[in-house]
Structures are given as structure tokens and as C-alpha cells.
């Protein structure tokens, strides 16, 4: 027992005061990192959340269960509810917290300020802080490949894009898809339907029905499940694409290919840097070239020339010879937005609030 007397109090107080000084050095390297993942849905959605969870599992495998311990909070709504979740995780002493949805931003920025020692990672975010990094993938590069396939294979010349919300990432996914399709079919039309939800399978399915009834024969979706693909299969249209993960089990005939998100490399890097004590505020945005976005296997029914064109588009993006947003680009109100020879660069990307000519949104 330590008797509490004046001398002891001073000693303990002195040690406590010195602790933060030691902390910055001796504790910089961690034996074990506690990482938390906040998901907007559940890992079994076969799409977006599944992709993040797969990345988490691969990350544990790569670093070893003795070096990293994780927890996952599922079904966290964007907005005030998420703030409570982030605060609780920070209070529970997690070293690094990954928020995997766009709408967590405000909550994360706020909580990050209150817990300067906890690292925050905001997927698809747009603003950093001293202890908040953002990471994203160039999904639109995948959309360019899908658009190439759609432009060449569609018989009606009308494709569809089922979106969640008109946020920059979705708008640019639509533009990338449409611009690539127009290269092969100058009259290609892309019909856009927003379902105002990241996850409402029955509504996505009905949106797909509404689109197919109005002449669409290729569908791509920016929502988290295979509902639209299943309708494509049922109706026997040319096809659709998996989003976030390979979804061919749901639609063997209609599933043309998929955009697969691979988050493991980033998660390994981020947790590793916490282990080593050299985590830094940053912004990561990798795509096909960095292996964060991968095009899945092609359906057998895609003709060889289409496969060749899709592969060429992919190779072009990887080696930099093909830019998804190369001018000239005219918007759907007939205004020239990007001059010939110019491109929409990474900085301008997030400010685009218009659709390319031929997009019906």
C-alpha cells in the first residue's frame, strides 16, 4: 500500500506531469494497435461494406492478430448518431478509427478535435485535420471501363445509372461512365435515377424495372447491393455490373463484370504507421494503377473486341495515356465545360456539379 502523504502526492504528481513527455517517445511505437471500423451498413451487403470488411480481415491477416485488434460498428446512420459512435470509440481507447461513409465527415471532424491522440480515417472524405486523414479510391476509373463495355454492347443505346445521392463522387462516376460509352456510340444516352438511399434493395429493384421498361438495356448502379442486377437477369437485358464486389452469383447471365474495391493495402499501411508511430495526416486517392480499384472477371458473353477495348481502356488509365475526363466535354445544357486538350484534374474533380451531354438526370 502506498500511504498518501504529502511526499507521495508530489512524487505521483511529478510522474504524472512527466508522462506526456515520455509518451511522445517511449510510447510512440505500439506493441498492439486497437482499430475500429464504423460502417453504414453491414458486412453482408455483398457490396461497399463487404469490401471494407474484407479489407479489415486481410489487414489483420497481414499484420497478425497479436499486433492489431479490431472492432466493427455496423448500421451507423450518418449525422448526429454517428458522432456518438465515434466519441464512444475514442473514449474506449481505440488508436485509429475508420469511418467508411461520406456523411460521417462532420461528426469525425468534431470528435477528432476532442481526441487529438486518436487517429481518424475518413473514407471518401474531402477535408483533413491534424489527426484526420482521408482515403478514397478512383472508382470513376472503373466506371470508364464499364462505360466502354456499355457503349459497345448496348443495342438500344440507352444505359442507366442508379445512384444513391448526387454527391461529387456519384456525379463523376456518371460522367466517366457516359463519356466512355459515347466514345463508342456518339448517341449514347445515360438515364440517371437517384433512389435517395445507400441501401433499399426493393426500391433499387423497382428503379431498375422503371428504367428497363423505358428502353434501358445496360444498368450500372452506385448503391450497395445486387438488387438491380437481379432485375436485369430476370428481364433478360444485356446486363449490368457489380459494384464494390463481384456479384456474378446473383446474376450469372446479366453480370458483365464488376468494379471491386480493394481496401486492404490502405488499411495495412494506415495501421502499420500507427504501430510504428509515424502516422501522418494525409490524403490517399489510388485507383486502377494502385490496385485499389480492380475490374473483375468478364462475362463469357462479352465479345472479344469489347474485351479488348475494355482492357485497352484499363491499360490506358494505368499508364496515364487515357484520362477519364479528357476534353472536349460539353455538359447537358450544351455549355462547353472542358476545352479540347484540357482535362478535369484532381482538384477540379470535386467541384463538378454538371452532367455531360446526353446524360438525363
Amino acid at each position: 500500500m502506498v500511504r498518501i502523504n504529502r511526499r507521495n502526492v508530489l512524487k505521483i504528481g511529478g510522474a504524472a506531469a512527466a508522462l506526456p513527455l515520455i509518451g511522445s517517445r517511449a510510447f510512440a511505437q505500439k506493441a498492439k494497435v486497437r482499430a475500429a471500423f464504423v460502417l453504414i451498413g453491414t458486412p453482408d451487403d455483398n457490396g461497399w461494406n463487404y469490401g471494407h470488411d474484407l479489407g479489415r480481415r486481410d489487414m489483420i491477416e497481414a499484420l497478425g492478430a497479436d499486433r492489431v485488434e479490431t472492432t466493427t460498428v455496423t448500421n451507423v446512420a450518418e449525422g448526429p448518431d454517428s458522432e456518438r459512435v465515434f466519441r464512444e470509440l475514442a473514449q474506449q481507447g481505440y488508436d485509429i478509427i475508420f469511418g467508411t461513409s461520406f456523411g460521417y465527415g462532420d461528426a469525425m471532424l468534431k470528435v477528432a478535435q476532442q481526441f487529438p491522440d486518436v487517429k481518424f480515417e475518413w473514407a471518401t472524405g474531402f477535408k483533413t485535420a491534424s489527426n484526420l486523414s482521408i482515403y478514397n479510391a478512383r472508382f470513376h476509373e472503373g466506371r470508364t471501363v464499364l462505360g466502354t463495355i456499355s457503349g459497345m454492347m448496348s443495342e438500344t443505346g440507352i444505359g442507366a445509372y442508379i445512384g444513391s445521392f448526387p454527391i461529387p463522387e456519384v456525379v463523376m462516376g456518371i460522367n466517366a461512365f457516359h463519356l466512355a460509352a459515347r466514345k463508342h456510340n456518339p448517341d449514347f444516352i445515360t438515364k440517371v435515377v437517384y433512389v435517395d438511399s445507400w441501401f433499399d434493395p426493393a426500391k433499387e429493384a423497382d428503379a431498375a424495372r422503371a428504367l428497363i421498361d423505358q428502353g434501358v438495356d445496360v444498368i450500372t448502379q452506385h448503391t450497395d447491393g445486387p438488387a438491380a442486377l437481379q432485375v436485369a437477369e430476370e428481364r433478360g437485358i444485356i446486363g449490368g455490373f457489380g459494384q464494390g464486389a463481384d456479384m456474378s452469383a446473383f446474376a450469372p447471365k446479366a453480370h458483365l463484370t464488376s468494379i471491386i474495391d480493394i481496401w486492404a493495402p490502405y488499411y495495412i499501411k494506415a495501421v502499420q504507421s500507427v504501430l510504428e508511430g509515424n502516422w501522418k495526416e494525409g490524403s490517399s486517392w489510388e485507383g486502377l494503377a494502385g490496385g485499389e480499384v480492380v475490374i473483375g472477371p468478364y462475362n463469357e458473353k462479352i465479345p472479344a473486341d469489347v474485351v479488348a477495348a475494355a482492357d485497352a481502356a484499363q491499360a490506358g488509365i494505368i499508364d496515364g495515356s487515357l484520362h477519364p475526363f479528357a476534353g472536349p466535354i460539353t455538359d447537358n445544357a450544351d455549355t462547353l465545360r472542358v476545352e479540347a486538350g484540357d482535362v478535369i484534374d484532381d482538384g477540379e474533380f470535386w467541384g463538378v456539379d454538371w452532367y455531360a451531354q446526353g446524360v438525363e438526370a
Partner: protein
């Protein structure tokens, strides 16, 4: 608007309306007996996951529907025991039932995610379901015809049978019904069980006729719309049918209008999504302005029955 697109809209609308209709019909009977069960969403999710699981394992959608009905009924009995035998608060217990059903279905369904089943389609011959015009009558799952048949059954039961009269009496004045010898608890147990079975079947509609998969939260909050629908219909089966199809039409038109582009786009999509609720509020206002007995809520709705022997 061409005839083809009109027919397509009708077919999609009927599909979207059917789960609403089934769940709301069940709740209508429950409320007519004087019980308010806010757990529709939970019972629907339970029915959805059990219906999917049994259909997936046996390949027989009829068995899936039957199992969904029993599953819905089973969880509704939890609610019945708590509220009818133990006199717990119906609103709180109903909300708890929704939370329970959401969690239970997520747990039970873990083994069934990522697995597709076949849609439960029309049983009529292809010559009828593929016909350009006739398909508007024949290109539906048997569940759709079942839901329409049940509208008639519920109307007939409530208006034309002695048992229905007793059920309404229990809902309007439980003490009087009790004093002339009817068992309030028995009647209400029966009503809640029926409501549970209908909600279970409504849940099974999601994997069987709308989107043939199971994922957590598949019903997407439509249990709450079904609740609003009962009020919208002023507790009348015929009006419930019209209301369910109107709500389904609003939801469907939102998507067809967006896909078509043009003038409909002027209406923001949030407005489309809120129309069912706005319509329900409008109907509530109309009901309270008219103050006629026939279109108002059952007098004992939501009140626990405690006989003063």
C-alpha cells in the same frame, strides 16, 4: 404515355403495393380489436428472413410463405403475452418488437446472405403472362391474388360475421364485451396472431416477389408505411386497398418519372418520398374534422384491458 409503359407501371405498382396491403390488412384487424401493434416492421423482417431461408433450403416458395406466416405469428405472440396477459404498454412493447425483429432477422439471416433464390412468379401460362395487354391481369405472383382475396376476407369477416362483430365490440368497448361474457383476451390474442401472420407473409413478399435476396433490413421501413396506411384507410378494408395501391403508385411513379426525365423531374424526389406520410396527415385532419363515428379509430385502441371484476 404509351399503353405499354402504363401496363409496366401498373405491374410494378402492384408489386410494390402488395407487402403494404398484406401487412396493413393484418394491422387493421389488430387495431379493430383495440390493440395497437407498432411491431409490424419487426414481424415483417422476421417473415422475410424465414420465408427466404425456407424457400432457399426447400426450393418451395409455398413452404416459405407458410413458414413466414408462422414466424410472424410466433413473434407477435411475444407481443401478445406482454401486452395482453401482462398489460404492458402497447406502444413501447410494439417498438421493442420492431427492434427485436430487426436484430433477430439479422442474426438468423447471417447464413443466408449472398445467396440468390428464384422469384415466385405468376403461375399462369406464358401465353397470358407474355401477352401485351393480358399481362396486366395475369403477370403477378400468387401472393398478389392472395392479398386481394384477403381484402375481401377481412371485409366479410368484420362486416358479415358474428365473430367479426364480437371483435369490433371488443375494440370499441372492451368492458361491455367482457360483461356480456366475451373473452377480451382471447379475441385480442386471435387478432394479434392474425396480424403477425399477415405481416410475416408481407415480409416474405420482399425476397419472393421484389428482390430475390436476403440482406439485413430488407424491408426498408415499409412496416411504418403500412401503419400509416391503416390510419389513412380509416380502418376500412376497401379503402385500405385503394390506399395501398395509391401509396404503391406514388413510390413507383417517383422512379418512372425520374427514369423518363422531363416535367416530373421538377418535383424534388424528397417530396415524392414524403407524399404517403403527407397524405396520411391530410386524412387524419379530415377524420378529425368530420367526427363521424364510422371513420374514426376504435375507441379502445391502445388501451390495456384490466377487468374490474
Amino acid at each position: 404515355m404509351s399503353i405499354d409503359i402504363t401496363i409496366a407501371i401498373i405491374i410494378t405498382m402492384v408489386g410494390a403495393s402488395t407487402p403494404l396491403l398484406l401487412a396493413a390488412l393484418g394491422e387493421l384487424v389488430v387495431e379493430k380489436s383495440g390493440v395497437l401493434n407498432l411491431g409490424i416492421e419487426g414481424m415483417m423482417l422476421t417473415g422475410a428472413v424465414v420465408g427466404f431461408a425456407v424457400t432457399y433450403d426447400t426450393g418451395n416458395p409455398w413452404l416459405g410463405i407458410l413458414a413466414a406466416a408462422f414466424a410472424g405469428m410466433a413473434v407477435s405472440m411475444l407481443f401478445a403475452v406482454l401486452t395482453l396477459s401482462l398489460s404492458s404498454n402497447q406502444v413501447a412493447t410494439g417498438l421493442a418488437l420492431t427492434i427485436f425483429g430487426t436484430g433477430f432477422s439479422a442474426l438468423f439471416g447471417q447464413a443466408y446472405t449472398g445467396k440468390p433464390i428464384a422469384l415466385f412468379k405468376s403461375v399462369f401460362p406464358d401465353s397470358l403472362t407474355d401477352d401485351r395487354f393480358l399481362r396486366v391481369f395475369f403477370d403477378y405472383s400468387p401472393l398478389v391474388y392472395f392479398s386481394l382475396f384477403m381484402v375481401f376476407v377481412v371485409w366479410w369477416f368484420l362486416q358479415k360475421t358474428r365473430a367479426g362483430l364480437i371483435l369490433r365490440a371488443v375494440g370499441e368497448n372492451d368492458h361491455s364485451a367482457h360483461s356480456i361474457g366475451y373473452s377480451v383476451a382471447k379475441v385480442r390474442y386471435g387478432a394479434v396472431a392474425f396480424g403477425g401472420a399477415m405481416a410475416g407473409i408481407a415480409g416474405a413478399c420482399f425476397p419472393l416477389i421484389l428482390t430475390p435476396q436476403w440482406v439485413e433490413g430488407l424491408t426498408g421501413g415499409r412496416g411504418w408505411i403500412a401503419l400509416a396506411l391503416v390510419v389513412f384507410a380509416a380502418w376500412r378494408p376497401g379503402r385500405l386497398l385503394a390506399g395501398a395501391y395509391l401509396f404503391g403508385l406514388i413510390a413507383t411513379m417517383e422512379l418512372y418519372a425520374k427514369a423518363a426525365g422531363g416535367a416530373f423531374r421538377i418535383l424534388p424526389s424528397e417530396l415524392w418520398a414524403s407524399l404517403p406520410y403527407l397524405a396520411t396527415i391530410a386524412v387524419l385532419v379530415m377524420i378529425s374534422m368530420r367526427r363521424t363515428k364510422s371513420s374514426s379509430a376504435p375507441a379502445c385502441l391502445g388501451k390495456p384491458f384490466m377487468p374490474n371484476n
